[in-house]
Amino acid sequence: MNAQAVLTPLPVLIPMLGAAGTMFAGRQPRLQRVITLGALGAVVVVCAGLLHLSDQRGTMALHVGGWGESMLGMGPLGITLVVDRLSALMMVVSSIVLLAVVLFAIGQGIRDGDERQPVSIFLPTYLVLSAGVCGAFLAGDLFNLYVCFEVLLAASFVLLTIGASTERVRVGIYYVMVSMVSSLIFLIGIALVYAATGTLNMAELAIRLNSVTPGTRSALFAVLLVAFGVKAAVFPLSMWLPDSYPTAPAPVTAVFAGLLTKVGVYAIIRAHTLLFPAAGLDRMLMVAALLTMLVGILGAIAQTDIKRLLSFTLVSHIGYMVFGVSLATQLGLSGAIYYVAHHILVQTTLFLVVGLIERQAGASSLQRLGGLAAASPLLAFIFVVPALNLGGIPPFSGFIGKIALMEAGAQDGSALAWILVGGSVLTSLLTLYVVSRVWTLAFWRPRADAPEDLASAAPSALLDDTRDIAVLEREDVGRMPVGMLAPTGGLIAVGLVLTVAAGPIISYTDRAAAEVMDRDRYISAVLSEAHP
């Protein structure tokens, strides 16, 4: 029994067992918190171990419940889990974000929550979501990927509609319907792939799809791409996102924005490199990337609510990752992987900061904000660092990721790639405009100049049950609680590590991209494990 065989299933197992434990401890909030933090802390350690192992040993595969070869020659039966550098990096970043967000949520609950908060549901569901996210990164089989998507989606349905207020039920309906349609399209894709090849194991598929006619291959890829594109919010399948994310509680929005779309991007990377290289849809992906960037950021300019504004920038920046993937070169893929890591961290941080703004100022609408820089210089600082990072100001990681992608685009050299480079510069500038608009209105403008003099009466934790009162009558909520501030600061620090250690990290993502492009390593790792 070697280390990798022990560690590989743990990122799914620990949160699942943790979820069961927190269910049993439903009436003891303190025990629930201890179990949750213990489980997610252990996942961070395990993922870091997997990152180290995968960097040393290359692709590692494990067949959980390996029932051997099936009679009909359908490839190995069982639950195939695969760790390579790409999935290990995704899991490390995700587990750090999951831990930080749950710390924020617990800090918020201890300070602002009360007896009526549905905390006993929140923590188990959150752990199931974590298991689904890690499982999706580990899955070495299309059907397992589908199941992991469903696990994380089902958990996200509960988290999004927590408290079931009018507003949340309304957006919950959009979100559930769109997600279900995308899952059904994924399932249709799975059925068609199975019809064409007779297997769903990704390594086996990579071999067998070679003998499928190119037209069929492109059609299969297109079906899967629509399914993943809805999850990743790629234009024109992105319209659901800005409507559904902003109404959820701050920690829930933060973790959704950071992780759920990136799981879709990860699935696109996997399908594009491993299953369907040269499927002939790269140009279409490039156009989709360009439109995602531009339409997303133009939508952000029109918004007055910071949460909606950030949701639109989230959609817009998915375009950068799709751009990197669509170039189908090692440089482009490396840039895309770095950008995914950067974007998970920065987008989650920004949503957590908005949670703090909402708590301190009682609003997230620019119509109701002002004077925050004077009221709380610390809040201004923790907003401006990730905001500039998102806008791509040197020396932050957003700048490094964008430069890597533009370099890859310039190396590609085709007219469309140059248009995309131009589009990404424009998007970057407009992002900077959007965040500086938030900065000027919410932080610099005196509060009295804001058009609406209303604010929510009290800070809310998980439920949106506060009413509006005149801002002058709002009671002082005190300083920002350490339990909320520390995780936010921690995420900003991790985001800065991406800048400080950019050299080693870029060389790691280069190795990850090389590994992902070299399909034989993945195939031989999975299939040699199946027939020892």
């Binding site: 099936s70 089902a154 559930v176 319907m177 399932l187 199975y194 909606r308 058009p451």
Partner: protein, 156 residues
């Protein structure tokens, strides 16, 4: 693989009926649409698993057929059925909750999207410059908070 026309037509019919229902605004019909498409996809998975008539148990003979039926497709369909049942229960709970809260069960447009989409140039300029958005529709002869703001005195 041999394709059979009748099941494929059946699947196509179910999907098109499902899509038709999904395009409604009524939530119960949307759910029924989802379930129809889900069943169609399950049938599709079943039919891609091989011809009918093979015995599902290994080592048995069924009507002269000796090749074992593909066990994977059955496992996948079972999983998909369980998932769609769970989600359907959740959607039904949401529909009931919507009905309790609003006494209707139609999907509404997002109010914030509507507001931003139908902003006039004047309102958009007001938002950009941080001025109060002129709310013409709700202006009455009564004195209100907006009338006290500088630059808007006497708007009534």
């Amino acid at each position: 693989m041999t394709a059979f026309l009748v099941p494929l037509l059946l699947i196509g019919g179910l999907v098109s009926a499902g899509v038709y229902l999904l395009l409604e605004r009524n939530l119960t019909r949307m759910l029924l649409g989802l379930l129809l498409i889900g069943n169609a996809v399950n049938l599709l998975i079943l039919f891609v698993g091989g011809p009918s008539g093979n015995p599902p148990v290994r080592g048995r003979v069924s009507a002269g057929q000796t090749a074992t039926a593909d066990p994977l497709v059955q496992a996948m369909i079972l999983t998909a059925i369980v998932i769609s049942m769970g989600i359907a229960a959740f959607v039904l709970a949401l529909i009931y909750r919507t009905y309790r809260l609003t006494t209707e069960e139609d999907v509404e447009n997002d109010p914030e999207s509507e507001r931003v989409a139908h902003m006039t140039a004047e309102e958009a300029a007001a938002v950009d410059e941080g001025r109060p958005v002129p709310d013409l529709s709700r202006d009455t002869d009564e004195a209100d908070a907006l009338d006290a703001l500088p630059g808007l005195e006497g708007s009534r």
